[in-house]
Amino acid sequence: MHHTIEVNDLRFKYPDGHPALRGVTLSIAPGEKVALVGPNGAGKSTLMLHLNGILQAEAGEVQVCGLPIRKDTLGKVRAAVGLVFQDPDDQLFSPTVFEDVAFGPLHMGLLEAEVRERVAEALAAVGMGDYVQRVSHHLSVGEKKRIAIATVLSMNPEILVLDEPSAGLDPRARRGLIGLLRDLPQTMLVSTHDIRMVVELLPRTVVMDQGRIVADGPTPELLNDEELLAAHGLEA
């Protein structure tokens, strides 16, 4: 029952009336690494924001690690699901890198010694060990993205949900990211336009378009279906 994501007929409409999710059903088993692809506006980010309770479902249900997402389970859900936003500015809010990466474990009530250890580990994992005292505000987009991942890794989540992690990264940073994601044991859902990364890293692909899932299967199979790709604005 652990490390799973269960989404059942999820529906969601934004306050301005725009229907973003029109009945999404998805099931991810422990340890699976899944790609979420689709054109802009398909609802990928919206779906991801439901996975740690930032958005509340209008209809349908979301369960992570066996926990239905409700007001009283939000704390546990957020400790279990590490969501890395598309825009690092949506993730970083502390004056220094150290404080940002330390926020998660500190909030969870860990002792100082362990927090320091976790921060060091998380920053080392993303290759930003030297940036501990830097002001996160002044870093480049690529650096911020890696720090953003570190802020989530320090919480040791069971599930990682990443929204377009490789967008805006230079080739070296992108290579580092792929290596990092390959080595991490967590269950993973990665939304991306980077099809080459999908082929290299993520054995299962889910295609979304207009608020629904239109395809769900092994990556090689889906990416060889030219009709499917063309119909949903994708290129292999």
Binding site: L49, K76, R78, F85, D89, D90, S94, P95, H107
Partner: protein, 260 residues
């Protein structure tokens, strides 16, 4: 994508009020507020007539009678600045609270102020709800309000939403990492205070830098200090008729107040 839905005050429509020239509406609202302010305290009939007037205006705006009523309670805290009046104005005592004495005259004044501010806010709400913000700004400029003042209002309004958006993002970022573990979670009050302080600083920085970027974008498109709008319309017969009717009604109410 995920924005604060600070609903724009303006409600699209084609009622009588929507069709009036912004200048007439602004002056009409100001005149109403002036009359309301100048009424002597305790003129209950005149105040009631003013209230009826706001209801009639609300009806004419096709926004419903309750629209302005519901939103007007935001004025209440400001009117409470006059809360000391019942206790400080000398006169016939009404009640005693320890060493404080409530007087009739003071209470009358306080209630008058409360009602005056309440109806004035309703008229202001109806003004902003029936006049699109750019039209409102244009109306102010057309009435010779100084350019710097109007520019400040225009920028403040636009960037309120930008600032609110940034604040929402920061709050969401923190919420997303507020997990609970085995131990006692949430951190100490001091720590939480430090985090909040850091976020406020962050917000200030972001707002400042964002405003610089936006200004650069505007300058890159030729901005030189004033946002130009399309040519203004002429005053119509409707505008003139409504203006005359409005001034007459208010004069009548003022007359009633001063005579009776």
């Amino acid at each position: 994508m995920l924005h604060i839905d600070l609903a724009d005050q303006y409600r699209r429509g084609s009622s009588l009020l929507h069709r009036l020239d912004p200048r007439i509406k602004i002056l009409g609202a100001l005149l109403f507020i002036l009359v309301a302010t100048l009424l002597p305290p305790g003129e209950w009939l005149a105040l009631a007539l003013l209230f009826v007037t706001t209801l009639l205006v609300a009806l004419q705006s096709s926004l419903g009678v309750g629209f302005a009523l519901r939103r007007s309670f935001v004025a209440l805290p400001f009117a409470l600045a006059a809360i000391t009046l019942p206790f400080t104005v000398p006169g016939q005592p009404l009640a005693h609270f320890g060493s404080l004495t409530l007087t009739v005259e003071g209470s009358v004044r306080f209630l008058s102020i409360l009602i005056k501010s309440w109806v004035s806010v309703q008229i202001a709400i109806l003004l902003t709800a029936t006049t699109a913000f750019p039209d409102l700004l244009w109306g102010l400029r057309a009435l010779r309000i100084p350019r710097p003042l109007v520019s400040i209002v225009s920028f403040m309004y636009r960037y309120m939403f930008v600032l609110a958006d940034e604040a929402l993002r920061l709050l969401r970022a923190r919420a997303a990492r507020s997990g609970t573990g085995e131990g006692k979670s949430g951190g100490s009050l001091a720590w939480r205070g430090r985090v909040a302080g850091g976020m406020v600083g962050n917000l200030t920085l972001r707002a400042f830098e964002r405003s610089e970027r936006i200004y650069d974008a505007m300058v890159a498109r030729g901005f030189q200090g004033e946002i130009k709008t399309l040519t203004p319309p002429q005053l119509t017969d409707l505008d003139r008729n409504v203006a005359v009717g409005w001034v007459t009604s208010l004069a009548l109410i003022a007359f009633i107040a001063f005579i009776f």
